[in-house]
Each structure stands twice: as structure tokens, then as C-alpha cells.
């Protein structure tokens, strides 16, 4: 006899529609709580630190960073890739929801999308500021000019520009369109005239008619379909920045899929971190249930396996290729040598620690989930560190080998992006429902009936 699966309810607590609206609009309607104000203050401080660091690198030059003649990219590009990776989860969730009909994702995708938008904004900062002359950044756009200058279509950096800007536009669009019905709900409920006007403008005259819903669903599905390849393309192209080059440790065909999986992995970990914090802050555990956290943990476990496999394959290919330089980079610089600490942090955080999610108990412990989600992002940061720095610092000619130390300005810019991210997320929490009310309502009754599959048995 085959045992039957019974789907669990996606929203617990036997909510009525009215309850849902009320509970989920709490954050936008009330006064901001104390923790919000404190966090906002801290975020602004971090942003100010970042502003100073930004000013330093603009006014003094990139010499204020820790880069050397050999290590041309350091924390800037590490952070860029890291933030881009984090920015993957939002769109992925939306696509899970819209394209793959993963209804459980409905209550998460709003926050995940917000996270994506701010993460991509943080990421987008780095390619701009890492330029020696950022005031000429427009050179990188293929705009018509009388000098007949054109960009180099062979350069992955140009592909980056296209991929990231497309991705940012797409994720902002998806995020924004997804919140239109909710903005209309706020508009309709608020008693403040000013607020009504603002929300009124942004809700695009939404009237909640069946007709509107029909069009709206179609639009979202189409956009979701369009966005799906972007999720893959962005990080693939970021990976090509490295794979196209000649450096040992960069020049590898495995990098695009490896980066893509890594991105989903780190993005999901960040979603998990944020969901846990939000569950703590707001009374939303009926909407983001154990089941949600469990699902994310399972995805992380799967991602961890793929990442671990990728690490293994990289090492194997380095050995199998018989190329001295590759062998040195992987076995002498990374596994043992100057970068072994970072390498083993990377391996343990990404490939080993998440294996704890084989245990149901671990998946159901908020503490474990939280710690692991943080560790994964630490590990993913170190992954980018290892890839970038070890290949650059110890490449072909030993005469040019250098060490790499970040400066206070490097750190400042990184902290500043955290500030930007925090402030952005807090503003989002304050002004927009963190869970898509219009998505949750249709699924709120789901799972309350017992569905028996495999009826044949």
C-alpha cells in the first residue's frame, strides 16, 4: 500500500479574509515600533559610513582601497557578486509562484522581491564605483555619438551592464505590479488624505473588478515567464566575467552553472534570515509557517549538495587537466596555502554545515535555521573572496604575486551597502504590506481540506 500525502495548510489559524487584511496591514497603518526606529537609525549610520567611504574613493581615487598592481578587483567585486547572488532569490520565488505554481511561495515572494530589488541596487553600486573614472561611466553604454565610438561587445563587462540593468528593471516591475492590489487596499482603508493620494497614484486606479484581476493575472504570468530566463542569465553572465578570462581558477566552463546555483543558494539563505526576523517582528507566523521555513531549508540542503559537487568538480578538473597553473591555484593556493583559511570557511559553511538540514529537528529549530542561514551567506562571501583573490594574487608569474588587505574604505563601502539594504528593507516594511495580501487570500483556504492523492491505492 502506498502511503498518501496530505498537503498541509499554507495559512494556519483559520483566518477570515478580514483578519488577513487587518493583520497584514498592521505594519503600514500603525506607528513604527521602537526596534524599527533603532534599526533605521543604525541603517542610516551604516549608510553614512558608506557615504564617507564613497566620497573618499571618488575624491582621492581607488588608491584608498586595498587593491594592488596584481589584484585589480577586491572587495568591490566580491561584494558585487555576493549582492547579485542574494538578489536572485526574490525573482526565483516569484517564478516558483507564478510559473511553477508553487503556491506556498505566495506569502514569501513580496519580501523576497523587495530583498532582490535592494540587493541588486547594492550590487549595482559596485561596478560603478570600481571604475577609475566613474564620471565617465556612460562610456560603457552603446549610445550614438559623433566620434563614432562604440562599446566592445566582446567584453563580459558590457554583457554585465545589460544583464544587470535588465534584471533590475524586471525585478522592480514584478515587485511593483505584484503590490498594486495591496496598494489599492491601503488606499481604500486609510483615513489620511495625503496617504490616500500617494497610494492612489501608485495603485494605478485599481478597482478590484474581476475584469481587472483577469488581466492582472495574465500580465503577471507573462512577466514571470519573461523573468525566468533572467534569473539564470544574470549570474551566468557575472560568472562569465571570470570564465572568459585566462586566469587559473577563473577560466573554467563550470563557473556559470556553479555561480547560478550559488546565487540561488545564498539568496534563499538571505530570504530565510529575513523571514525569521520578520516572523519575530510581526505576528505573521500563520502566513509564513513552519512549512515555509522547512521548504526553504530543503532547498538550501539541495543547493549545498550541488555547491559541494561543484567544488569537487573544480578540484578534479584542475587535477585532471594537468595544467600546472590550475593545479597550483586549487591545491597550493586554495586548499592549502595563502588562501586556505578562506577556502575552508567556504567549504564548511556552504557544503558541510547545511547538511544539518537532513534532520527534521534542525529544520524546525528557529535558532539552527537562523544560524545556518547566516553562515551560508558568510560562506558565500568567502567563496567569492577565494575565487577572486586567490586567482589574482597568485596567478602566472610568481614575481607579481601579492597579498591583499582591504582598507577602511573597502570596509566602509561594504558596510554602506548594508546600510542601504537595511534602510531600504525598513522603508519597505513601513510602507508596503510585507506579505502579498492579494496572493495570500486565494490560498488561505488551501490545505484545510484533506486531499488524498494516489486514490488508486
Amino acid at each position: 500500500m502506498i502511503s498518501s500525502n496530505i498537503s498541509q495548510p499554507l495559512v494556519t489559524g483559520q483566518k477570515q479574509y478580514g483578519d488577513i487584511t487587518r493583520e497584514l496591514l498592521e505594519n503600514t497603518e500603525g506607528r513604527p515600533p521602537l526596534w524599527w526606529l533603532i534599526a533605521f537609525g543604525l541603517g542610516c549610520l551604516a549608510l553614512a559610513f558608506g557615504g564617507w567611504a564613497f566620497y573618499m574613493s571618488l575624491s582621492q581615487g581607488l588608491g584608498t582601497w586595498g587593491l594592488t598592481n596584481s589584484v585589480g578587483w577586491g572587495w568591490d567585486i566580491i561584494n558585487f557578486v555576493w549582492w547579485i547572488g542574494i538578489g536572485h532569490a526574490g525573482t526565483a520565488f516569484t517564478i516558483f509562484f507564478l510559473v511553477f505554481r508553487q503556491k506556498w511561495a505566495g506569502s514569501i515572494n513580496r519580501s523576497a522581491e523587495a530583498m532582490t530589488v535592494f540587493a541588486v541596487m547594492c550590487a549595482g553600486l559596485f561596478p560603478l564605483i570600481h571604475m577609475g573614472r566613474p564620471w565617465l561611466a556612460f562610456f560603457i553604454l552603446p549610445y550614438p555619438n559623433t566620434r563614432l565610438l562604440w562599446v566592445n561587445f566582446n567584453s563580459p563587462l558590457f554583457w554585465d551592464v545589460l544583464a544587470i540593468s535588465t534584471y533590475l528593471i524586471m525585478s522592480v516591475t514584478l515587485w511593483y505590479l505584484g503590490m498594486v492590489p495591496d496598494l489599492a487596499t491601503i488606499r481604500d482603508r486609510t483615513k489620511n488624505k495625503f496617504k490616500r493620494t500617494i497610494y492612489g497614484i501608485f495603485s494605478l486606479g485599481w478597482n478590484g473588478s474581476l475584469y481587472a484581476y483577469n488581466r492582472y493575472e495574465t500580465l503577471l504570468k507573462l512577466l514571470g515567464g519573461l523573468a525566468a530566463p533572467l534569473v539564470i542569465s544574470v549570474h551566468t553572465i557575472v560568472a562569465l566575467d571570470f570564465a572568459i578570462s585566462v586566469l587559473p581558477g577563473w577560466h573554467a566552463t563550470i563557473l556559470p552553472p556553479y555561480f547560478f546555483v550559488g546565487a540561488i543558494f545564498s539568496g534563499f539563505a538571505m530570504v530565510l534570515t529575513i523571514m525569521i526576523l520578520m516572523r519575530k517582528a510581526f505576528n505573521i507566523s500563520d502566513y509564513i509557517t513552519w512549512k515555509h521555513l522547512d521548504n526553504i531549508a530543503l532547498v538550501l540542503k539541495y543547493g549545498s549538495l550541488v555547491i559541494g559537487l561543484a567544488y569537487g568538480i573544480e578540484l578534479f578538473i584542475a587535477w585532471y587537466s594537468g595544467v600546472d597553473y590550475e593545479m597550483y591555484t586549487f591545491f597550493n593556493a586554495r586548499v592549502s596555502g595563502s588562501f586556505s583559511t578562506a577556502f575552508w570557511i567556504m567549504v564548511s559553511c556552504n557544503a558541510i554545515v547545511p547538511q544539518i538540514f537532513w534532520f527534521r529537528k534542525a529544520r524546525q529549530s528557529i535558532v539552527v535555521l537562523f544560524i545556518v542561514s547566516i553562515l551560508i551567506n558568510v560562506g558565500m562571501w568567502f567563496e567569492r573572496f577565494v575565487i577572486l583573490i586567490s586567482s589574482l594574487a597568485e596567478d602566472f608569474l610568481p614575481s607579481s604575486w601579492t597579498s591583499y588587505q582591504p582598507t577602511i574604505v573597502d570596509i566602509g563601502i561594504f558596510v554602506g551597502t548594508f546600510g542601504l539594504f537595511t534602510v531600504g528593507m525598513l522603508l519597505f516594511i513601513k510602507f508596503i504590506p510585507i506579505i502579498a495580501i492579494n496572493e495570500v487570500k486565494p490560498i488561505s483556504k488551501e490545505g484545510q481540506r484533506v486531499t488524498i492523492k494516489n486514490e488508486k491505492a
Binding site: G61, G63, G132, P134, N152, D241, V246
Partner: protein, 991 residues
């Protein structure tokens, strides 16, 4: 316009109608803000307000914008000099000389200012080669911080007339009172100056001339007096030697005439299939010198052991020639097979050469004897047409110091001499000078001795002076001013002429000297005017006559010398100290030159500092780490540097650092190793037994340009031995054929229809002297970035000398490899630039368009050779980088043909594209094709050993086209299939 005012309460109505009740003083003058804020109607702004605000905005905008952008003036010639075309370079031949240093040069002048120095190709001594110091001497011309701008008396400005008046009076008094005067000078190479001085001495017999060198070659002369009865510094013909044995002589780096020796040495090291012969070079030394690094066999010995080996070699030679061995020292075969060496020297039958670097007359005498027994005199060593260096006399200087302190002198003058810094008794000299009636320094730049003198009468820079030089007997060169004196300075010779009442200037004096003394020696020119002008144009005049002569040696002094050396050896116990001249700093007189400060020492790759080099074994024995500061002789504190290849129980220190009054660049940088030198038997031997040393506990950070020294088994520098080469010219280079055979690419190879520029580097001829590095820096406006930035590994040099070790840490094999942009045909940097700022020219040059570069640094990352440099900061006009590019005077040295790069752009070697364009234009104007060798990049031009060859691969008979087919040719990282335009010829060692 009057507005209707409404009131809402009686109080308000009352207040508004009776303002006086509020107690305000209505008669007070309104402030500008009040005027602007419109008292009479503060409800809304009127059109009047708008205009007022406009007015003040425009006004402040005008004022503020006028504050910005200071006006820079480009002033044209009022009357254009006839021979000067703006934008067109003129070249003048002159001579770089300072003490024992010498290099005939030509100076490139653009719009009246010298911007580049190159070796004079007409000189038979250097044939166009130069040294890093000669290259960098240009920058000293524009060192407005270190040069004296006018005469000084006790630190106060004084006019030349006043100074002359006072000095002439004082000299007259001294003369009348029977006082003594001394002129202290380093070795004078200038015959005209020498004649002038003897002319002055004739008039003033009380003037003594005391010749003293900080780095002296006096012992060689003394030994030749004892051995041949002639006071000479012989000329060595390294090019004729089949076996070169050097005892501590760094003849390729700093000893005697390295630029000349490097050229001769390279002649014996360049090897081809047709003539597979090269010299064998054995170096016995205690520290790692440039010469030792190039040697086929390098024996590491403590200084005392070096002498023991020299003595034993002499004894062995005595035995092998059937004489009585009174040397009394033998070396066990386990240490070194001296028997073999002695028989090799004898077998070479006059074509060996033994040199000794110690300024010790006994050692030099042994060297003379060995050379004489080997039959080398007359073949590889000659005492006719000697070199004029090393005329100093330490003994007379010693007694001079004593007499100076006892008050025997009334007047002392210093010319090209800085004993306060360079002599261990400098402090005493400085004190004694203060008690004199008259003390004069002719130093053109700040120095420690000048600071102690009453009068500073600044000499011109050599590029502003008339002079001549005779480095080798019969080889004269002229020095002419290439720019009017920038500051209110006067040549020392002119001062002397003035004081002796002559109305002649030194220009006329030199001219007379040449036409009277040298004109009769030649037959080419029939009139003195033609001779003078031609000599001036060529810069050199060489008398061809080489005499052959008999060498009657006197061996009588040898047993005594052997005894003395034996005694010296027996005294040497414990840690020994060896002092050597720094390759870039030398005796320290150009220490304020930031180019030289930032030139990486080719052996240690340290910039901006000197150090105490110790062996790894010594370091581990005493638990010393790189940068640990130790105290020597309780005199100097300096950091240690662990240097493989130094003798155990030996510390090596270099001179030239530790200046205290040289200028902002050099002051208090490093430590003064001259303080560690001692005078023994009237000589400064530059090696000593170390009395004491102790750790201080403090640390220090070096700025090194290379920190990893192993090739990690990669085929970067390919090396083989002569025996293997004879069997197969491709020995050591087997990989080249492999990669050529197995190369595979998706892309078509570039086709060059016109030129295809290429550079070939013969690793066998390259000595690592780094002249090319400074030449490149000078030609291409490469900025100086300072110690901190070098330490962060951000040196801007377009060209670097990589150095790798192989073998053991006790005595490693050392190889050098000059690396610049490879100008790859499949350049990895080019395809990754998003804005196409770096592109490939139709002539195979990888070029950067600075204006287009946005500075993503992707090209830097993707360059496997890491030759690209990023402008991390604005290096010009930035107080943070207060070197020559931060002042209007210093910037005069910049080459107007090369852009000064902005902050944030990438730069690198361009194959001196400005020279290529210039050469092409010249050929075009002359309606001819380019010839091989017409175009010479700066690095190639300056190379004293001719290790670099530049040319067109498409020109069938060019040297590069021939060399690239040589079996020794390979490309760096050729397995990447980047198809570099730079090729290397394998290093062959004769062992």
C-alpha cells in the same frame, strides 16, 4: 504695491500700527540679509526681491568662478632663437661625471629644456650604454628643493660679488699670514679642471689639493706601484677573457666602470650557433652582488675567507708554476677545487682575468701577481691607457683631518666631496670646520659638508656646465651646458678663475685647453675651430694609439703581502661585516633623486631603504625575522633583511643612505653605512670584523616590488648549460617546440602588412642592472609613488626586472628577467575592455587610449604578465606625492611627447610608440624605408650590454627577425597562446 492687511484681533492691529511699542531700534542700519528679506513686506517676495536675489547670485557665482582655475601662462618667445624649432628635439653631447663615475651622454632638449639622457654611441668605451645613475642624473637638474638657488654665507643669501669680494680678501690675508688652504675633491677626471687647479696652485702655493673618494680604488693603484712601479688603474678587457675570476668585485654593478665592463662582459656572453663560445665566470663573494648573480659559479665566502682563497689561489699558482709556495695557505678540496681553477687560469694562457674588489693593497698585489703569472697583462689587463679613477689618497686625507682639527688650516674648500657624511670621522670634520677662517663648499645640492661650511658657492648642475673628462687615458669627452643655469649658481671652475684674477671663463679655458693640448694629437681637422666644433658636436675625442709594452714585474713585495693577509685572516673571528656601494645610491650624492630611490634593487627588490642583509641560516640561528631592527657597533640601527646567498656569519650593508641634509626625498631614509667603515693601514677596506651587534626589539617594513622568489617549477626563465647548448641549441627550451607544435586556436592569427614590431631579450646578456627601468621612467613620464605605495605593490614602472632563485638558500642560482608589455597578438587584455580603450594597432602594438579608459581594471586582471599599471591616485600635482611631478620645476623633466596620465586610467609599456612615430616620420621625410635599428625604444637604447634588440619582424633581414628564429628563443607563458611580440633567448651558464 500696497497690500490690504487684515487683522484678526485688536492686539494685532495695535502692534502692527505701533511698531515702536515692541522696543526695537528702528534707526539701526539694516543688515544685507534684512535688505534682502524685505522688511516692508515679509508676506511674499516681489519682483524686486527676485531681481535682488538674481543680482547676488550672479555676483557670487562670478566671484566664486573667478576663484577657480588659476590662469596658466604659456609665454611665447619674443625673439625666436634661430636654431630652435618648437616641438622639435635637439640633442647635445655632454658628459656625466662625478668622482669615479663617468658616462659620455647625449641630452635631448625640447624647447630649451633637457628631458632625456642617453648614452653617447660614439664613445668606444660605452658605445651608447649608460647606467641607471647617469639616466637619473637628469632629474637632479630640476630638484629645486635640494639645489642651492644662490650663494649663501652662514645660511644667508649673499650676492656673488659680495662673496667673491669677501673670499678674495680672506684668501689674501691667509696668504699674507702664511696660512694653509686646502681644496678637498673627489677624483678629478677633468684634465682641464686639473690644469686649472695646478694653475691656481702655481699662483697660490699655499693651496693644497687633497683628493679623497668615498668609494676608493686607491689600493689598485698602490699595488701597481709596488708591482710595476707605475701609478695606474689598469684597463680590463673582459671581452677578451675566456675565464673571469672575481674576488668580491661587483664589476657589473658598482665596481670601477660597470657600464663599460657590462658591455665587454656581454660580448663574451652572447652566444650563437655559429660561435658557441662564452666566457666562464667564477665569483667569490660574501654578499649577493649583481655580478655574482650573473656568474656561472658563485662561491659564497666570508670576507676573510675570500682573502684566504685569494691567497691560496696564489699559492697554488706558485706551486703549479714550479715555484716556492710562500703563501702558506691551502684550501681543502671539499671547500673548492682551487687546483683545477689555478690550472684553468694557467691553461687560458693569458686569456683569463682575475679581479679583486677589495680596497686592500695586499689583495690587489696578489691579484696583480696572479694576472701576471697567468700572462694576462698585455692581453686582458693593460696598464697603458689606464683608467683615471681612484686617484684618492686616504693617507693624506687622514692627516688632513688631524691637521684640520689641530688648526693647521685656515681655509678649506670642498668640491664634489662630502666627507661629513661619507667619512666615519664626519662629525669631527664638521666641528673642525666651524673654527676655520674660511670654509667653502662648492656643492650644488644640499649636503652635510656644505651645511658645516661658512660659504656655500653652489656649482652648476653638470648639464649647465662646461667641462671635460678623461676616463681612460686617450679617451677624452667634452661637457657642455645644455641649459642656461636655472638658479643663480656658478661653476666651481669659474669661481677659481675669478679669484685668481683671470677674466677668462671656464668655457674659454676648456676650449683653449682642447685646442692647445688635444688639437695637436689629431690629424683629421686642419684648424682648431673645426676641431673644437666637431669635438663639441660628437662630445668625445679619442686618440687611437694603443701601445704595446713589456711588463717587468717586481715580486719582492709579495711575501710581505702574503704575510699581511695571513695576519688579517687570523684576526678575523666571528661575525664579519661587508660594506658595499648600493647599486642606485652608490656614494649617496644623488640620494635625493626619487627615481633612484624607487628603483628596486635587482637582488632584493627593496626600494627606498637600505638594510642589513643576513643569510637565512644566520637569521634562524639568532631568531631574526625580516625587518627586525638591530644595532651595529652601537653606532647604527638598521633593519635586517634575510637574503639567500650571503655568507653565514656575515652581515652586508650598503652605502648611500642615511643622508641628513640632502632634501625631502632622502633625508633620514635608511642608515649611513659609511659610519661603519674603518681606516686600516691608510685604506678603507669596506670589510671588517663585527665588534658587536644586538637586537633592539623594534620592527620595520620594507617596500619590496617582489615578494615571491621561486618560479614554482614554471618555465619562466629557461636556462641551460654551455655543454648542453653545444649538443642542442634548443637545450632548456624544449617546451617552445612542444607549444609551437601543439598550439590550437579558434581565431585566425593577426596579419600585419606593414611593420610588426618586436623586442628580443637575450637573458644571457642581461645583467639586471636596471638602467632600462630608469630610462623608461624618464622617457615615459612614469610617476614616482613613494615607499608606502610601493609597499602596497603599486609601483608604476612600465618595466621591471624579475628575479628568481633556484637551488639552495645558502647559495641559490639567481636569474633576472626584464618584463614589460609583451604586446601580444592575441592580447587577453584587449577583448575584455568594455569600452575598447585598449586595442591592437596595425603594427602589432597593444595600445591604450587614455581618454577612453574608464578604469575597470579588467585588463590588469586578465594580463597574465601583470605589466599593466593603474593610476590609483593623481600622481601629478598632488601633495600626497611630493616628488618631481608636484612642482612646476620638477615637471620640466616630463617628456612632452608622452601624456601624463590622469587618475583612474590604466597605463603600460607602449614600445615607446612616440619614438616609433618619430622614426617613421624621419624616414618618410627622407623618402626612404626604415632601416633596422632606426627605431630604438628607451630601454633598448640605454642597455649597456646590448641585451635588448628592437625591430620589425616583417623586415626579412632585421636582427629581431633573425633572433626570433633562434633555437634559444621562447615567449613568456607561450602555452597561453597569447603570441607575444617580446621574445626571450634562454640563459646559458658555462658550468
Amino acid at each position: 504695491m500696497k497690500k490690504t492687511t487684515y487683522w484678526k484681533s485688536l492686539e494685532e492691529l495695535q502692534q502692527s500700527t505701533s511698531p515702536a511699542s515692541s522696543g526695537e531700534d528702528l534707526t539701526s542700519t539694516p543688515t544685507p540679509i534684512e535688505i534682502l528679506s524685505n522688511n516692508e513686506n515679509d508676506k511674499a517676495s516681489s519682483r524686486r526681491d527676485f531681481l535682488k536675489w538674481c543680482g547676488i547670485s550672479f555676483f557670487s557665482a562670478t566671484v566664486l568662478s573667478a576663484c577657480e582655475n588659476p590662469v596658466k601662462k604659456a609665454i611665447p618667445y619674443l625673439t625666436q632663437p634661430e636654431e630652435l624649432t618648437p616641438g622639435k628635439a635637439a640633442w647635445y653631447a655632454t658628459t656625466y661625471q662625478h668622482g669615479n663615475e663617468y658616462c659620455p651622454v647625449v641630452v635631448k632638449n625640447r624647447d630649451g629644456r633637457p628631458i632625456k639622457i642617453e648614452g653617447n654611441e660614439l664613445s668606444s668605451l660605452t658605445t651608447g650604454g649608460s647606467s641607471a645613475r647617469a639616466q637619473a642624473s637628469l632629474l637632479g637638474l630640476y630638484d629645486d628643493g635640494a639645489r642651492y638657488h644662490h650663494p649663501l654665507k652662514n645660511g644667508n643669501k649673499i650676492s656673488w660679488e659680495q662673496a667673491d669680494y669677501e673670499i678674495i680678501n680672506k684668501l689674501r690675508d691667509i696668504s699674507a699670514n702664511g696660512g694653509r688652504a686646502a681644496l678637498v675633491t673627489s677624483t678629478l677626471l677633468s684634465p682641464a679642471t686639473q690644469q686649472l687647479i695646478s694653475h691656481v696652485q702655481n699662483m697660490h702655493p699655499e693651496l693644497e689639493v687633497i683628493t679623497w673618494d668615498a668609494i676608493s680604488y686607491e689600493a689598485t693603484r698602490k699595488a701597481h706601484i709596488r708591482f710595476f712601479g707605475e701609478n695606474v688603474f689598469p684597463q680590463y678587457h673582459f671581452n677578451k677573457a675566456k675565464l673571469i675570476v672575481s674576488f668580491g668585485a661587483d664589476f657589473l654593478g658598482t665596481w670601477a666602470a660597470p657600464a663599460i665592463y657590462a658591455k665587454q662582459y656581454a660580448e663574451t656572453r652572447k652566444i650563437s650557433k655559429d660561435s658557441p663560445h662564452m666566457s666562464r665566470h667564477i665569483q667569490f663573494e660574501s654578499y649577493v652582488s649583481l655580478t655574482g648573480a650573473n656568474a656561472d659559479t658563485r662561491i659564497v665566502l666570508k670576507p676573510s675567507d675570500e682573502k684566504r682563497f685569494l691567497l691560496a689561489l696564489y699559492g697554488e699558482m706558485l706551486r703549479q708554476t714550479g715555484q716556492d709556495d710562500y703563501a702558506g695557505t691551502t684550501i681543502s678540496d671539499a671547500e673548492f677545487d682551487l687546483k683545477q681553477l689555478a690550472s684553468d687560469i694557467l691553461e687560458a694562457n693569458g686569456y683569463s682575468l682575475v679581479v679583486c674588489g677589495y680596497n686592500d693593497p695586499n689583495c690587489q698585489l696578489l691579484t696583480c701577481a696572479i694576472n701576471q703569472m697567468a700572462g694576462n697583462y698585455g692581453k686582458t689587463v693593460a696598464i697603458d691607457n689606464q683608467l683615471m679613477i681612484g686617484q684618492a689618497n686616504e693617507e693624506s686625507f687622514g692627516s688632513f683631518i688631524d691637521e684640520l682639527r689641530s688648526g693647521a688650516y685656515s681655509a678649506v674648500m670642498f668640491y664634489n666631496s662630502n666627507p661629513v657624511y661619507q667619512h666615519p670621522k664626519g662629525e669631527l670634520i664638521s666641528e673642525a670646520l666651524k673654527t676655520l677662517t674660511l670654509s667653502i663648499s662648492f656643492s650644488g645640492t644640499r649636503d652635510e659638508t656644505a651645511e658645516a661650511c661658512d660659504f656655500i658657492l653652489p656649482d652648476n648642475h653638470y648639464l649647465e656646465s662646461w667641462n671635460d673628462a678623461m676616463f681612460k687615458e686617450g679617451c677624452y669627452s667634452l661637457a657642455q651646458p645644455v641649459i642656461h643655469p636655472i638658479f643663480n649658481t656658478r661653476q666651481m671652475q669659474d669661481s677659481l678663475l675669478k679669484w685668481t684674477g683671470s677674466d677668462m671663463d671656464f668655457h674659454a679655458f676648456v676650449r683653449n685647453f682642447w685646442t692647445e693640448r688635444l688639437y695637436p694629437l689629431q690629424t683629421e681637422y686642419g684648424d682648431t675651430q673645426g676641431f673644437w666644433l666637431n669635438s663639441l658636436q660628437k662630445g668625445i675625442f679619442e686618440r687611437k694609439a694603443e701601445t704595446t709594452r713589456l711588463y717587468n714585474a717586481n715580486y719582492q713585495g709579495l711575501p710581505i703581502a702574503a704575510d699581511a693577509i695571513r695576519q688579517l685572516i687570523s684576526q678575523a673571528d666571528g661575525t664579519e661585516l661587508v660594506i658595499y656601494p648600493h647599486l642606485a645610491m652608490h656614494d649617496g650624492h644623488m640620494a635625493n633623486n626619487p627615481w633612484l630611490q624607487e628603483m628596486p634593487d635587482p637582488i632584493t627588490s627593496v626600494t627606498w631603504d637600505n638594510f642589513i642583509a643576513i643569510s637565512p641560516a644566520f637569521a634562524s640561528k639568532h631568531q631574526l625575522r625580516d625587518g627586525d631592527v638591530i644595532r651595529l657597533h652601537e653606532k647604527v640601527e638598521a633593519p635586517v633583511l634575510i637574503q639567500p646567498g650571503i655568507a653565514d656569519e656575515c652581515m652586508a650593508v650598503s652605502t648611500g643612505y642615511g643622508r641628513t641634509n640632502a632634501g625631502k626625498v632622502a633625508d633620514n631614509r635608511g642608515y649611513n653605512a659609511f659610519m661603519l667603515t674603518g681606516v686600516k693601514n691608510n685604506f678603507r677596506p669596506f670589510s671588517d670584523v663585527l665588534a658587536s651587534w644586538e637586537k633592539t626589539g623594534s620592527g620595520f617594513q620594507f617596500a619590496r616590488t617582489q615578494t615571491h622568489f621561486s618560479m614554482e617549477g614554471r618555465a619562466i626563465v629557461r636556462e641551460s648549460t654551455l655543454d648542453n647548448y653545444k649538443l642542442d641549441p634548443a637545450a632548456g627550451n624544449e617546451l617552445h617546440a612542444y607549444h609551437e607544435k601543439h598550439k590550437l586556436t579558434l581565431y585566425p592569427e593577426n596579419i600585419y602588412e606593414g611593420h610588426h614590431w618586436a623586442l628580443m631579450i637575450d637573458l644571457n646578456a642581461c645583467t639586471g642592472c636596471s638602467t632600462c627601468v630608469i630610462s623608461c621612467q624618464s622617457e615615459n613620464n612614469v610617476p614616482v609613488v613613494g615607499k608606502d605605495e610601493v609597499r602596497r605593490r603599486r609601483i608604476m614602472h612600465w618595466m621591471r626586472i624579475d628575479r628568481y632563485y633556484n637551488g639552495t638558500a645558502d647559495n641559490p642560482g639567481i636569474v633576472f628577467q626584464p618584463v614589460m608589455c609583451m604586446h601580444c597578438d592575441h592580447a587577453p587584455c584587449e577583448n575584455v575592455c568594455p569600452v575598447s580603450a585598449t586595442t591592437h594597432s596595425a603594427e602589432g602594438i597593444n595600445q591604450i587610449t587614455y581618454n577612453r579608459c574608464v578604469g575597470t581594471k579588467y585588463c590588469i586582471n586578465n594580463c597574465p604578465y601583470k605589466v599593466r599599471r593603474f593610476n590609483w591616485f593623481a600622481y601629478a600635482d598632488n601633495n600626497r606625492f611630493d616628488y618631481h611631478m608636484n612642482s612646476d620645476m620638477g615637471r620640466m623633466v616630463l617628456n612632452p611627447d608622452v601624456t601624463v596620465r590622469e587618475r583612474g586610467v590604466v597605463e603600460k609599456c607602449s614600445f615607446c610608440v612616440q619614438r616609433i612615430q618619430d622614426g617613421k616620420l624621419k624616414a618618410k621625410k627622407e623618402r626612404r624605408h626604415l632601416n633596422d635599428g632606426d627605431i630604438v625604444p628607451a630601454c633598448v637604447q640605454s642597455c649597456p650590454s646590448g641585451a635588448l634588440v628592437f625591430g620589425d619582424l616583417n623586415q626579412k633581414d632585421s636582427r629581431v627577425a633573425r633572433l626570433i628564429k633562434d633555437a634559444r628563443n621562447y615567449h613568456l607563458l607561450e602555452e597561453l597562446h597569447t603570441l607575444p611580440s617580446v621574445g626571450y633567448l634562454t640563459k646559458i651558464r658555462n658550468r
